[in-house]
């Protein structure tokens, strides 16, 4: 199916901007389910909208980020809707992929000592206050384990907009992440490769992670794997 013929760019922008009627939207959703190229195109548009939002909320912005702003028109209006759509988009995107490779080995999965407590924190909201609260929660849990001499393995998995926590030049808490990595040996910060790819390939931003941050194929797949492995899950 040829996307260009089916929907014009303007139409797709209107779709991402939430300017279409219900009927028109249904039309697009129906095609999204069948058309990979269209799916990617819409993902790209959505990602751009959310990155623009990210750039606005979290200065300083890397220079490449500023370039992409010019394309982000109507953003004031579309921000909230864009965010909700992004969540939907990401969910849809994952649904659209072939099943996640559940058997992928993760560095730490195989090297577990005698039954430490294992907890996965999921961070997917990029708002600075939210990130701060998330770090507060992680830190008080680490302190609790240190105080009670309990062996614990804690993983903070960031995806979607939450990835901003781990991006060099963007994260408002780079220093704190570094300190926490040093202070709590059982704590790792993990970034989602899918989100990184989307930012790099679809928007042209070069992603630099904070030092010591691990990368996994997919945040969502990691959450599923960890729960299957008996990890506690908590969304903060």
């Amino acid at each position: 199916m040829n996307t260009e013929q089916k929907f014009s760019d303007e139409f797709l922008n209107a779709f991402v901007d939430d300017q279409l009627s219900l009927e028109e939207r249904q039309q697009v959703y129906a095609c999204l389910a069948k058309d990979d190229a269209l799916n990617r195109q819409v993902c790209e548009l959505r990602k751009m909208h959310s990155l623009v939002k990210l750039a606005y909320e979290q200065p300083p912005v890397p220079p490449q980020g500023l370039k992409s702003l010019s394309a982000g028109r109507k953003l004031g209006l579309g921000l909230a809707a864009g965010l909700a759509l992004m969540i939907g988009g990401v969910a849809g995107w994952f649904l659209h992929q072939s099943p996640a490779p559940l058997s992928t080995t993760v560095a730490q999965a195989t090297t577990e000592a005698k039954d430490p407590t294992k907890v996965l924190f999921h961070v997917s909201d990029g708002h600075p206050e939210h990130l701060r609260d998330a770090l507060d929660e992680v830190e008080s849990l680490m302190k609790h384990y240190r105080k009670s001499h309990e062996k614990a393995q804690v993983e903070v998995v960031a995806n979607g907009e939450g990835l901003s926590l781990l991006l060099a030049g963007i994260s408002p808490y780079a220093e704190r992440v570094r300190r926490m990595q040093k202070e709590y040996p059982g704590l790792t910060f993990v970034a989602c490769q899918n989100t990184i790819d989307r930012i790099q390939h679809e928007v042209g931003l070069t992603v630099k992670l904070l030092p010591g941050v691990e990368v996994i194929d997919s945040g969502v797949a990691q959450i599923m794997r960890r729960q299957q492995q008996g990890w506690a899950y908590i969304q903060v």
Binding site: D18, L22, L77, A80, A81, A84, L85, I87, G88, A91, T117, V119, D133, D136, E137, S140, L141, H144, A232, Y233, I234, Q235, V236
Partner: protein, 143 residues
Amino acid sequence: MRKLFLLSLMAVLSFGLIQVNTSYAADGDKVIYHVNLGNEQATDALRNIQNHLAVDPKAKIVVVTHSAGVDFLLQGAEDKNGNPYEGTVEKLAAKGVEFRVCKITLERRKIDPKKVIPEAKLVPSGVVEVTKLQQQGYAYLKP
């Protein structure tokens, strides 16, 4: 129109989440409702729990709160329409629902523990509580 669509989209999304999560609850009958975002989330949680118990009256439900999530369990707390939370909490507590409040949050936010309504119990840490309950086989649900 825009707002309406956004709302309906969010409704669909959150409905989707709840759908997925309750399917876990079906096996174990033990469920954590995690509330840390504030009163709006608490209102949703209380409604979800009422519906949950209507479908599965034997479900063991524990509401774990921390951060802004403790607010609805403080004396005199009201929802955005001015309805007090305590009545609903009392009713659910009478059905066996447990409400737990994070001590670290009270200390950090300088809230007097006496302000917590009697239906709720203090726990050392909300996050630790959430992880411990999962180790005991509780399903995790975030409204």
